[in-house]
Symmetry: C2
Subunit: 329 residues, 2 copies
């Protein structure tokens, strides 16, 4: 059974999941199921855990499926109570770990899918979060995507992951605290302020429509990092009006398309930043998506400081992405 342990210095939680390490090739550098049949392709449905949700496709098939993760980091049995082990705190690794198989087609990344299909993926995320948060033990739901092996993906077939957990993780509470601090000081939402600043500065904008803005953030940790912000203040991702899913899909597809055109062999992580699910709508926090290409490896300096070295200024990154130029790596 996986368990969650707390670092007594940092207050950081770690999932210790030994079983997850026993799956074949888990540790193989640059892993992936070579020589295996892809469990996410149409026709191989029997290789995944049972379906949780799906959307019908052509010819009686499916166009999107949500299944449980076969090697979950968190499991649905257990309690959300903490216990002690000597000096240390621990708890059961209670939660849900789902996989969203975005398309039956093995080789079609998100940016090459029709806007409607991207919109289906986003609507599925919202729907799953709304369903999962009915369980009061769940405090936070993380939606993310690892694309490409430098970003930690182990399967090539386009998919995202949803992890529901019994506490709000440190990274999330720190972001909320930062936003709350800005609000306390200036009376405004820091993300609304960033949106206004970027629309006025213009040189970091990568995609835009009436509802969403994609730009390369001023203090990007990673080269070619892109954030997507809704123009209208909203703290919870799952509460996006359904009518706006298409507009978000449009901006996301454009942003990923530009990254894919400029960066060869693109690897990226996409992370939805949102409020912990049991919290009410807040004036100081604004959901958003962060897309971080992984061109280089994170090394000792970054691990030791939380300080990043980025060798492409965000203004330069936006210029390259908008010109459609190839970036030489």
């Amino acid at each position: 059974m996986p368990e969650i342990r707390k670092d007594p210095v940092f207050g950081r939680w770690v999932i210790i999941a030994s079983e997850r390490g026993r799956r074949p090739n888990e540790f193989r550098p640059g892993g992936g199921p070579q020589g295996h049949i892809c469990p996410f392709c149409a026709g191989n449905e029997a290789l995944t855990p049972p379906v949780i949700y799906s959307l019908p496709g052509a010819g009686g098939g499916w166009r999107l499926r949500v299944v449980g993760n076969k090697y979950p980091a968190l499991v649905s049995e257990g309690s959300a109570d903490k216990s002690r082990e000597g000096l240390y705190d621990r708890m059961d690794a209670l939660g849900f770990h789902e996989v969203v198989i975005e398309t039956p087609e093995h080789g079609r990344p998100l940016e090459e899918m029709p806007v409607e299909a991207v919109s289906d993926v986003l609507k599925t995320f919202m729907l799953r979060v709304k369903e999962i948060k009915k369980d009061p033990r769940i405090k936070h739901v993380l939606i993310f995507k690892n694309h490409g092996r430098n970003a930690g993906a182990s399967l090539l077939h386009p998919h995202s992951q949803i992890i529901a957990m019994p506490l709000a993780p440190l990274r999330v509470t720190q972001e909320l605290d930062g936003a709350a601090g800005h609000h306390a000081e200036r009376g405004t939402c820091v993300f609304c302020d960033i949106t206004a600043e970027e629309l006025s500065f213009k040189k970091r904008v990568v995609a835009e429509n009436s509802s969403f803005l994609a730009f390369t953030p001023y203090a990007s940790c990673f080269s070619f990092e892109i954030w997507i912000l809704p123009k209208k203040h909203l703290s919870h991702f799952e509460n996006i009006p359904e009518a706006e899913a298409g507009a978000l899909a449009e901006v996301l597809k454009t942003a990923l398309g530009k990254l894919s055109a400029s960066l060869p062999d693109l690897s990226y992580n996409l992370i939805v930043h949102t409020m912990p699910v049991q919290e009410p709508e807040a004036r100081h926090y604004h959901w958003h998506i962060e897309i971080t290409p992984k061109l280089t490896r994170v090394a000792g300096f970054e691990w030791g400081t939380g300080f990043y070295i980025n060798t492409v200024a965000p203004e330069e990154a936006a210029e390259i992405l908008n010109s459609g130029g190839k970036y030489k790596v």
Copy 2:
């Protein structure tokens, strides 16, 4: 000129260093100077910036050299003052970036060097920090080592890096805050408490002598992570009594030797955690070394939460390391 920019949400600083990105092969995945002459080998001294410090070796040569980094992330000109750019804060990327070439021999990693040579490396770290901190503009000095390409190393020749910076980075202040919180609550140093707990529990101990303890921490973020703690409370690494450098070298060599024996093709980051250099000795904080092997890639879940998934329990890791068994990856 590199600059430092502040993320307005997180308070996290980022170094934007475009020139650093212009060096050949900077972005090549799994990079390294293939086809190049190693600038760190004996005989190629003309390929590095001028020497800052060195120790004499056999036959009129050197056994250790400290040089400036040819592609520095921080530079010695500039001011430590902040300025504004619209909504955002920035400052000059003021600092020093040095490389410690640990040996003239290209293929001899730290764990295969004699204890005296490892001790020389550690004493050099202390000496450089004591020298660098005389500049009052410098607030923190990070000492780290990237070993192996999965850990972000770009050169194979054994070397470490010293980066001196004009502010204490977020990761460091968060660790200090965590330790201060523990001290306020219990009146003890959290690292002293951890040392006592690990010595009593025993199952996570990897190496030990009268002055130092190496163990796999309870809430290890990475599989086979090892921390080295001095048994006697001391907040600043550079203030280790010179007579104890040998004992530290001994424990470090044993810990790295065990990692290298159990993990094939070992990649790791080694980071010295210590107080910001201008701060006085503190009762709540205790310098230490963290060694984090990089067996898998960090992915979206970790980036999104600051929460890690570790698939080898620390007790299991210590058992494998102490038995000398090979870990199948």
